[in-house]
Symmetry: C2
């Protein structure tokens, strides 16, 4: 297909195009509002069977809350407590779950970045927790605070990424008891998007809440949601003290929590998408209900990262048809219980950003979007079964989020008359490149997808997409501009970090 | 997650596991019967709008049939012919389309590989037409007859690939006028799956039909479908003489044809998924109707490869949210007109099997399956915007087809009682690895997905998925066993090829 007359942008070739790309202004897209239907992978009868199985598990097997204080709270709320297991009737459980809001607002320090969570709204949140990076020299090493700051910057520039994130990587060079302080500061300083909080100890959750008070004001930050955090159960059917402590702090302060079983079907849950979903439902709903006992109406999310286990090796597997199925089922259950659905996007089992990393990521992202995920974590970069983050893959995965942002807008039907007239004018054998309708087109284009000829690609250095990703990440870091922050607030945050660092002993390392 | 007792397969490490894989017997899966719902990306109203737009195009703009004989056939069938354009009322058109069967059987020379096409049935067919290969030494060069034969062998071993294919690659070392003979022989000899026919000239289609007569018997091969072929329109709205000649031969002999607009939204069709689908519908339905004039009831397929054009460079783009949308719409339209839906899977714009090749492929495969595609082409290997085929990507893409074969089985609900008992027995904090239910699990596992630790991966040579794909392709070629063929038939085919080669002048090269 040759170029249309007057469309001379091919002149100048790759260099000119790349220049245009690197100078493009940073765009921040608002919360995505889904305009395509959700994909229901089973019918109402199937959904009902999962619900019934989950309710039997809650009623007959029970869920362990391994924390004396939590058990006492449950006892007072009317649950049957046996050892560490709590059992509830389905009516008791669902009455509490109903108190959780179907949608909520999470505030950003820049009001323009404030997001809606739930309903038809969808936000993408960054990766979470990997202790390793595959860096810009393709070296694999422990992640550092500098990496975390870099990734907050890159994340801030991701146009479809709505959330600043917490531990995009674990800053392994910072002592564990001090990490949460730097994590919150990094998110609040290098981005102005909504943040994710620390959950690794009660006091660390409290410090995170206290830091948001410095930004949003004390009253506002305890009566409005300014943090969403993520707690994992120890599947099957166990919530531990650390996670419950964090949940209690956040719930008491009106902060949202993803109650997220970290499942590996075949190991921590049954080797079945349906069976896993029933266990997940039992775990998530009891945590959501627990939060409602602490503060009725506090926002909570339902969902799971949905991995499977390789039965031959015991290794966790990211990116599989079974995990895709689990995400689709999770979307159905979340809608049933009227709580926002947390889904998971771009994780991969590969050690580098190779073709399997692409396949694996799409086994997350496609079901996450079609499931109608309201809070889609892992927007970019994860490799090594979530143990590592690739800088290159981060920016490439973000392009896929952009593509799904476009896809979820659905079809346009408002220009059919113009299309008909254009088809008539172009006629059989003509072409649409120069047509007025085409010039207004919003066809999606991937910036790092190589659509030049093989010869041109070779001439430009035979770069793989991974190499293009490295260059793009470097370019973004060079172009990053910090979002303005009130100097008084910045100083207050730095003072807080300094003071708490002095108060909290470093871990013995 | 540590290994369960008694599950000692980790001992022996990667080498033992790989040995187990390479010795695995070749499995041939039957036609996939979809057990998940289709995904309807728009509603009935949207579908109706596309239909109305397509009908207006057929009635008011018309479609050109650039072939005197075809125009005469149309004239006799009652179409309005103006120059080379034919116009039909929607009633005339749809009455003819209704004659095309909703499902059909395509016979393989081995009856066990015979497939059903249409309804809930889905088959995967191999790649089509690339003149270049990225070979087993990662060298990019023109494809040869040896490559075609190799790829027929690899394709024969693909467990979810149901079709032997035609020009999996173009054997560029064979003179163009002789290519179709070798293409048909390669498919019939190295595989026993159903074949794809040549469409590059009337006589070449006839030769292909004649070769199937040698295999199936003359009567059978002209009254039963033993070939499915693929003709492309010259969008917008043109069918040329070559394609129509092939269509006439195949239709007269009861052979199925994919009437497949080769669209690039923004260039050959409007820069709109909906507008493109209306043009595609007009083109495909007129060809399907035309075939019914020739032989009422002959099987025809509806669909398109659905690319877009990069508006800045004019290059075709494979793998995009807009092409995914077009495939989903095509599935809806095919069901409306009750003809089998041809979809497209693993194409990529990348020059190598890199991460973008993975993303791109999934932008084909995921919508193709969710659209309920009945005949899903490009099951493996395509790169370079369909100009090249990577051996490595071929076998890796096939694993994705296997995964979707698994996914399309849907959820199991028949083991819920056993799951409940297992959950009760395992209890909170236990694990499912050793459970009887888990041992019967059919969780999907990708053979080439690296789920070992980073350290073990490094120890085993830090291989990318592309390198693993090369090794797998080499292994398959070494293990290939030809399916038995009657020596008399083989001899007759070889004689036919020899005789026709002597009769047909080589092209001036």
């Amino acid at each position: 297909m040759s170029m249309a007359d007057g469309e001379g942008t091919r002149r100048g070739g790759g260099a000119a195009r790349r220049a245009a790309r690197v100078d493009a202004p940073v765009v921040h897209k608002p919360t995505l509002v889904r305009n395509i239907p959700v994909y229901e992978v089973t019918n109402q009868e199937g959904e009902e069977l999962i619900h019934q199985l989950a309710m039997r598990i809650v009623e007959e097997v029970g869920v362990e809350f391994r924390d004396a204080e939590s058990l006492e709270i449950w006892r007072q709320a009317g649950a049957e407590v046996t050892g560490e297991a709590i059992r509830l009737s389905r009516d008791q459980l669902l009455e509490l779950v109903e108190l959780a809001p179907e949608t909520y607002t999470q505030h950003a320090r820049n009001p323009e970045r404030t997001v809606q969570v739930g309903g038809k709204h969808m936000v993408f949140a960054p990766s979470y927790g990997p202790p390793f990076v595959l860096d810009l020299e393709m070296k694999r090493r422990h992640a550092t605070l500098e990496d975390l700051n870099n990734l907050q910057k890159i994340n801030h520039m991701g146009e479809s990424v709505h959330i600043a994130g917490g531990p995009i990587v674990e800053p392994v060079d910072v002592s564990v008891p001090h990490r949460h302080l730097h994590m919150a500061y990094s998110a609040l300083k290098y981005s102005d998007k909504p943040i994710i909080g620390a959950v690794t100890a009660r006091q660390r959750a409290q410090d995170t809440v206290d830091m948001t008070k410095l930004v949003f004001g004390k009253d506002f930050a305890t009566n409005n949601t300014c943090i969403t955090s993520l707690i994992n159960s120890n599947s099957p059917l166990v919530w531990d003290e650390t996670m419950l402590d964090a949940l209690k702090v956040y719930a008491a302060n009106c902060q949202a929590v993803l109650c997220s079983p970290f499942i590996m079907a075949g190991a921590s849950t049954p080797a079945s998408s349906v069976g896993s979903m029933a266990v997940i439902t039992a775990e998530a709903l009891t945590a959501i209900a627990f939060a409602q006992v602490i503060r009725p109406g506090v926002p909570m999310l339902f969902g799971c990262p949905a991995m499977t286990v390789a039965l031959k090796t015991g290794a966790p597997v990211h990116g599989s048809p079974d995990s895709g199925m689990a995400q689709l089922l999770a979307g159905m259950m979340a809608r049933r219980y009227k709580v926002p659905h947390r889904a998971i996007a771009n994780t991969a089992t590969s050690k580098v950003a190779d073709i399997y990393a692409g396949y694996d990521s799409m086994w997350g992202l496609f079901p996450a979007v079609l499931a109608g995920g309201n809070w889609i974590t892992m927007a970019g970069g994860l490799i090594e079964g979530s143990l590592g983050l690739s800088y290159a893959k981060t920016v490439l995965d973000f392009e896929q989020c952009d593509a799904f942002y476009h896809f979820a807008q659905g079809c346009r039907f408002d220009d059919l008359e113009e299309i008909f007239e254009t088809v008539k004018e172009v006629g059989p054998g003509g072409h649409f490149l120069g047509a007025a309708h085409t010039r207004k087109s919003n066809l999606f284009e991937f910036l790092s997808q190589s659509n030049v000829t093989f010869e041109q690609w070779e001439e430009e250095g035979s770069r793989s997409a991974e190499q293009i990703g490295i260059e793009k990440a470097k370019n973004w870091l060079a172009r990053y501009e910090p979002p303005p922050i009130d100097p008084g607030i910045d100083e207050a945050l730095l003072d807080f970090v300094k003071r708490r660092e002095a108060e909290i002993p470093k871990a013995i390392e």
